[in-house]
């Protein structure tokens, strides 16, 4: 699985809904603390095969993300 790290839970919910509107099956996850810069963060998990598709959707919707 791949994970998009996002700046907040609210933003993660927004991104999840956008990706679902494009027919993707994605879930919000709480990131493991050792994988975050300052602790406590949220992300979206998705199938890595859809990486290019996800990046295109995020760019089209002007979504900022921390990293994938």
């Amino acid at each position: 699985m791949c994970i998009i790290s996002l700046k907040s839970n609210t933003y993660a919910q927004k991104v999840r809904n956008i990706l679902r509107n494009y027919g993707m099956n994605v879930e919000i996850i709480r990131l493991e603390p050792q994988k975050t810069k300052h602790g406590c963060s949220y992300g979206i998990s998705f199938q890595c095969e859809r990486l290019y598709y996800v990046k295109t959707i995020l760019n089209q919707n002007n979504i900022d993300y921390v990293e994938i």
Binding site: K7, S8, N9, T10, Y11, Q13, K14, I28, R30, K37, H38, G39, C40, S41, Y42
Partner: protein, 379 residues
Amino acid sequence: MIYLDNAATTFPKPNCVNEAMYNFVKHECGNAGRSSHKLSAISSEKIFETRELIANFFNGDMENVVFTLNTTYALNFAIKSLAIDNSHILLSDIEHNSVLRPIYSLCKNNNCIYDTFDSDGTNEQIINNIKKKIKKNTKMLVCTHASNVGCRKLPIKEIGSFCRENQIIFIVDAAQSAGIYDIDVKQMGINALCVPGHKGLYGPQGVGFILFNEIIPKKTIIEGGTGIDSFNQNMPEYLPEMHEAGTMPTPSIVGLSASLKWINTLTIDKIRNHEETLYKLLLDLLKTNEKIKIYAMNDYNGNTLMFNINNISSQKVASQLDNLNICVRDGFHCSPLAHRKLSTGKNGAIRVGISIFNTKLDIYSLYDALMEIIISNKI
């Protein structure tokens, strides 16, 4: 009991609000955005859903919805986080203390100055009144959409357009208008719309919000936990988390979500028409009695009406109405500017606030009770 104090808080609430809050508190009430477990996730989803409902209701962006305790907190956050030091702030001459006091406090500490503009006249005259008070360093204009003493509705679309043209931050107090009049933050050029959950939106007490638009505040007012970025000593620099420190009042937010869905089904046109019909009925009845002094502008058709009975203090009348199981509000309604403008004197006035749950029978009963008070006081 006949409840006519709906400008203070609407009562009763729709049943769906009571049920949603009860079910949430009993079965689902985790701390939103704080943990990995199901109840935290459910709470987060409820808050997110409410942000989307609010954004759709006022044509804003979901992430710009900041939850607060009430409108006063919303106005304090908006005014103080957007204010620019050493600037000039303009407000109307009918503002509530929730606008007046934070601006007074701000100007006392930050060397800014404020002035009021005359809210009388046509829309064009009001814009001209504003133009007369504008200075080179006017950076913010704050005004109510509809006065809480029922005397005036301000042309916020025209004021917003003027502010946009002159690069002035425009903050609107929608405490008495949200849920009754259409508000579109983008079309109206509103930079911060401050709204209570518990009045015209028929939600519970304990939740209000700011809907920011086109502008992001640079300062925080309250700092604390946000559930993210925990080792960063600074608050997040993005909305809504920047202004949402600490645990959210999720049960109240859930109640607000239910009430917004209820209003969307009912429509605010239907609510407004019903309330204005009862307002006109009350106005027509009170006009028939020369012992009653009404404080209402000719062009105002709202849901809040203020009056006095000759020579009896508003507190005494409200108390006698309470003895007859009728709830109204007496005094100055935290609006010293509007009361001064209307010359209500030392007694203040009686305020009647009408909701969708009131009936014509309520209005006739109030009028009968007032006649009884006039007779019993030998006026």
